[in-house]
């Protein structure tokens, strides 16, 4: 396994998993478990090298498991890796596509953007982050986009503002056939709200809490157009205009206390 730390909190791992690499398609994810006691955590494959038989994951350290993952050294392995899971992105030639990535959502967006680029679409990319230090995959994204805009909340790079500001400008000036938005839930919510006004079809990728990733537990259920769907098999990509975002935000906080406790215990252990 190869590790490379981009920033303090954003980590990239390249993992040997030939069979998964062989079958992986853009938009699909894997579930990883670091060790015997570990949790099963879903992460999208940001890149796949079928020849080398490796998959790449990029994630932000947000809690105990991602912190644990980040401590794995080159050559150390994850105890369990399973995939590819989820429905692949439906990629076809549609015309002009705007790909909007926020935070580590950019990692998830990268293979989808590349797929759309290779399918002959005119690809405009918007990347957003808190500040320039949190931007990831800039060059890789630029390589598969015809045009790229960068937005930071603090103005440390590119446009000083949110991705929705940049998107609105594009929607006002040209015909867009589809928007793909992947990032924090509030970002996807506001992008969808905006594109709905313009009547532009919008795809988002949802990240509910998962366990098995095969449709067996129902823990990942999300409400789409008033109907219950399992994100691990029916998604993770859905029509952004149909998603009940508030419900998703709510369900994501289900274990907030436990998550905090889990990370605290990790630090306590380290102090002993």
């Amino acid at each position: 396994m190869g590790t490379f730390k981009n920033h303090d909190t954003i980590i990239l791992n390249e993992i040997e998993a030939p069979q998964i690499a062989k079958k992986a398609l853009p938009g699909q994810f894997v579930i990883l478990k670091a060790n015997e006691m570990g949790e099963r955590i879903p992460l999208t494959m940001a890149d796949v090298d079928k020849k080398k038989g490796t998959i790449t994951i990029i994630y932000m350290i947000v809690g105990k498991s991602t912190r644990l993952f980040s401590t794995l050294e080159v050559g150390e392995g994850f105890q369990d890796v399973v995939g590819p899971l989820g429905s692949p992105t439906h990629i076809e030639k549609r015309g002009t596509i705007v790909c909007v990535g926020g935070g580590t959502g950019t990692a998830v967006l990268h293979p989808i953007t590349r797929g759309n680029f290779e399918a002959g679409n005119n690809v405009i990319t918007i990347l957003g982050a808190r500040s320039r230090d949190y931007l990831i995959l800039e060059e890789k994204m630029a390589a598969v986009s015809h045009e790229m805009k960068i937005c930071t909340d603090d103005g440390s790079k590119g446009i000083h503002g949110f991705v929705t500001d940049a998107l609105k400008e594009i929607l006002d000036t040209q015909k867009v056939d589809e928007v793909i938005a992947i990032g924090p839930v509030p970002m996807m919510k506001f992008v969808s709200k905006l594109t709905k006004e313009y009547g532009v079809p919008t795809q988002v990728s949802l990240n509910p809490i998962m366990i098995d990733g095969t449709g067996m537990c129902g823990g990942c259920r999300v409400t789409i157009g008033g109907k219950t769907k399992f994100a691990c098999v029916d998604g993770p990509e859905f029509d952004g205009h149909q998603v009940d975002y508030d419900n998703l935000i709510n369900r994501l906080t289900a274990y907030r206390h436990e998550e905090e406790r889990s990370e605290e215990c990790m630090f306590e252990d380290e102090n002993i």
């Binding site: 069979q19 998964i20 079958k23 478990k33 006691m37 570990g38 949790e39 099963r40 105990k64 498991s65 644990l68 105890q79 369990d80 890796v81 399973v82 995939g83 590819p84 899971l85 366990i211 098995d212 990733g213 095969t214 449709g215 067996m216 537990c217 129902g218 823990g219 259920r221 999300v222 409400t223 219950t228 098999v233 009940d244 508030d246 419900n247 709510n250 369900r251 906080t253 289900a254 274990y255 436990e258 998550e259 406790r261 889990s262 215990c265």
Partner: protein, 485 residues
């Protein structure tokens, strides 16, 4: 005490059913150790002596895998324990499991003649099966089977539940090269992730899986067939001569009533998987969390519902209520589970149907709006249909709700496999005698063909399928040189 062997028939008839020692309900409901502690040898011999050794034993007919019940009971009385377990192994590979979880009261014990007399209870066949299997395990007695010479034929088994495990074991013994593919990171199926520790110790499941490895079976975990590999890929690229599908019925049903997406509403599958497979009861030592409810409501009244209820108690719930729309007689769970649940403090809201989950201002579950039911005319199945009583709505206060109203076939694999015919519920169509599906070289069995059934039925189907697969492999003749690997 006189030995059962020396007792007269009349004396034997007067022995009461031997109860197994159990942990005290008010203590055991706080931890996950097994509830029943099993028989001592003496108790087992006394219980076995209650069998009158029928000439035409109905119990064997009642057992889906036709264990020679009077045969092994006699051997227990004669203290030929190794012979006794050998006899049981002739018919089932997982006696420690069957003895603990079989619905005996509707199978072998339902037809036992001893129980036919008013006021008499049937022979404790399940308890005795558990006794003999546990004896073998704790004394290191193994099923001494001879493994046939290698045939060079390869079989892929999809799923490591009771059906898959049976097929894998049987075919390995017949000399075939068997690989089990399991989606989860650990093998065992529902025995591992569904049925809790306090009913079936995970050591037993691990022991049985280890036994499978000793037979030469390879187990590849983290392999979701239909994703990681496809059936056709296994057959045509990886050189498997036959595939058995035993993926269970893992798709949870929901009630489809308002509020079901609130935080605090779980499927039993999720709740039990967190608790059992991921060991969330040992959080934060293990990383997977679980919401420990204070007031818990369980929807449904089958084995799964009882397991969820008793798990919630052990995780610290102050009150646990089973909500069921019919009456006690219709509860589909094993009787002993209902009894154990009640002893431990689980309450029953019978003839009650949920209408809506109500959330707090923070979007967490606060309670369930319900209505009372009464039993009306019998439906097609002969069970009286519950009908709502007018204006009987009431509110059940709870912060955790677990839905345990059954599961159906998961379409993940069947959706992407061409040539597999399904029935109207999405279960794979398979010949009831052989498990053969409509797809060339593919067999299936267990819950994926039967719908949600039982451990022993899944094993029985596994055995039949193994025989049919073996016949097919034999018909191919010796592995030719010009065949792929």
């Amino acid at each position: 005490m006189i030995r059962p062997k020396d007792m007269t028939k009349k004396e034997r008839r007067q022995i009461p059913r031997q109860l197994m020692t159990e942990r005290h309900p008010k203590q055991r409901n706080k931890y996950f150790d097994e509830v029943t502690l099993g028989y001592s040898l003496k108790e087992a011999q006394l219980e076995a002596a209650r069998c009158i050794q029928c000439k035409d034993p109905q119990c064997i007919v009642g057992c889906p895998v036709s264990i020679d019940i009077p045969g092994f009971l006699e051997m227990i009385i004669d203290h030929k324990l190794e012979d006794a377990i050998g006899k049981v192994w002739e018919s089932t590979a997982l006696p420690a499991v069957c003895g603990r979880v079989c619905p005996q009261e509707i199978q072998c014990e339902a037809v036992c003649v001893v129980g036919k007399k008013a006021g008499r209870e049937p022979v404790g066949i399940g308890n005795l099966e558990m006794f003999i299997a546990d004896w073998a395990r704790s004394n290191g007695v193994k099923n001494k089977v001879e493994i046939a010479p290698k045939t060079g034929r390869k079989v892929a088994v999809v799923g490591s539940g009771p059906a898959g495990v049976t097929v894998a074991g049987d075919l390995a013994i017949k000399g075939h090269d068997v690989t089990v593919f399991e989606a989860f990171h650990k093998a065992g199926g529902v025995l591992l992730y569904g049925i809790p520790e306090f009913r079936l110790s995970k050591d037993i499941v691990d022991y049985e899986i280890e036994g499978l490895r000793e037979l030469g079976v390879k187990i590849e975990c983290n392999s979701v067939i239909g994703r990681t590999y496809d059936i056709d890929e296994l057959l045509d690229e990886y050189g498997y001569d036959a595939v058995f599908i035993g993926v269970g019925a893992g798709l949870p049903n929901f009630l489809n009533i308002p509020g079901e997406d609130l935080t605090g509403v779980f499927s039993a599958n999720e709740y039990l998987t967190r608790a059992n497979l991921m060991k969330a009861f040992d959080f934060p030592h293990y990383d997977t969390p679980i919401i420990p409810g204070k007031k818990v409501a369980i929807l449904g009244a089958g084995n799964v519902a009882m397991d969820a209820a008793r798990t919630a108690l052990r995780l610290g719930a102050k009150s646990v209520k089973i909500i069921y729309r019919r009456s006690r007689e219709e509860m589909p769970s094993r009787h002993i589970e209902i009894h154990h649940a009640e002893e431990e403090g689980v309450e029953f809201e019978l003839l009650t149907s949920p209408l809506e989950f109500i959330g707090s201002s923070e979007g967490r579950l606060a309670g369930i709006s319900c209505e009372r039911m009464e039993l009306g005319e019998p439906d097609e199945g002969g069970r009286r249909r519950p009908v709502p009583i007018k204006d009987s709505q009431f509110f059940i206060d709870c912060d955790l709700a677990i839905i345990a109203i059954g599961t159906k076939a998961n379409p993940l694999l069947t959706n992407v496999t061409e040539g597999l015919e399904l029935n109207e519920w999405g279960n794979i169509k398979a010949d009831p005698k052989t498990g053969k599906t409509t797809k060339d070289r593919v067999w299936a069995g267990g819950d994926i063909t039967l719908g949600q059934a039982t451990v022993i039925l899944a094993m029985g189907m596994g055995r039949d399928a193994a025989n049919s697969i073996d016949e097919y492999l034999k018909s191919l003749g010796k592995k030719g040189k010009n065949e792929k690997n």
